[in-house]
Symmetry: C3
Subunit: 146 residues, 3 copies
């Protein structure tokens, strides 16, 4: 049984973005040499989440619309006052809503590995979901198995 | 340390359904012979999610009502146009909402195994949650430990 | 490769509460002696969830407001009738909404361990999120690695 960990470096280009990392995760599984086991997809950020679904642009737009209805941008977030007071966020842009969206998605998902392949069906893709871009980001991929 | 993986074959009978797989998961843990470790419950689908909670029918109904309020069926989903154009879905039924609900639940949960038993309290059950049935489905269960 | 499991005993003091368990989880990782691997945070309850985000009180308040908008307390939950009939809940308080909130958050998250440290960035904290307190609770922490 072994463990293999790598980071994927990403650059989001807009505030909200589904970054498809399926190929990068599969390449890491290959490099690990692990044939049977599982892979952890973990986002070490507070305004980014993990999702697995179909990479169909209209569907991703539907999901974002739902998420914006639940967590609107044009709402009052106390956290934005905190950031303003502390001057901890250089761009001064509100991101209270980004944190809330990220919590709803969660920071980790685990996918089995079978015969060296991610156990995904044809329409499943792995996404790091940006809620406060554009930014440089990284995602941690950890493969466990033999 | 070893890894044991099995699939559970399921058949949902309605469009939306909580399929309780607790006993099947426990049986797989038994067959694995693993006494200490953890079990991954993973759904390899885009319109199905995983949830752990009390198998109390009225509660499950409450949760579905909440989920339908957040992601209504009688709404416009761009994804449904995509499916119509591509004719990729033979029944022609809208399922944009099903994908959105599945993303909110997530595809994986992990439960510790202690002395060969799932570490669940009396009222916890493991569900594969169907959002686009009736269909034949499978869920992947992977036990890691010794 | 080894596995190390411990429970964290918690006491929530209000109905809704973000309990920051980051330090306790890090201490368990230290005691495990595991340097490279991952840690599972698992909540064995039906009215409690797991979240990872910034421990900034105003942000946590924002998130709770969102969650209460999605799952209001002053709504009718069929589950509350179930509990009343069965007299299974001694305090008679409605908690249908607590279950629904817990399902949305999920019961487990996994965080990588690197050089004996939780792989968290400066603003990430691990929370057990109470939705039906005040109660005595426990959370299960399981470290896997070498």
């Amino acid at each position: 049984m072994k463990i293999h960990k790598e980071r994927i470096d990403l650059k989001s280009t807009t505030q909200i973005e589904f970054l498809d990392i399926t190929n990068e995760v599969q390449e890491i599984v290959h490099r690990s040499g692990i044939r049977e086991g599982q892979v952890l997809i973990y986002v070490p950020h507070t305004t980014m989440g993990v999702a697995i679904n179909h990479n169909e642009p209209m569907l991703l737009q539907d999901f974002m619309r739902i998420l914006y209805k639940v967590v609107p941008v044009d709402d009052q977030y106390s956290h934005d006052l905190f950031e303003l007071r502390r001057e901890t966020k250089s761009d001064g842009r509100s991101n209270g809503h980004s944190h809330c969206k990220a919590i709803l998605l969660g920071n980790s998902e685990t996918v089995p590995v079978e015969k060296g392949q991610l156990l995904l069906t044809e329409r499943q893709n792995i996404f790091a979901v940006e809620f406060d871009g554009a930014r440089e980001r990284d995602v941690v991929i950890q493969v466990i198995g033999y």
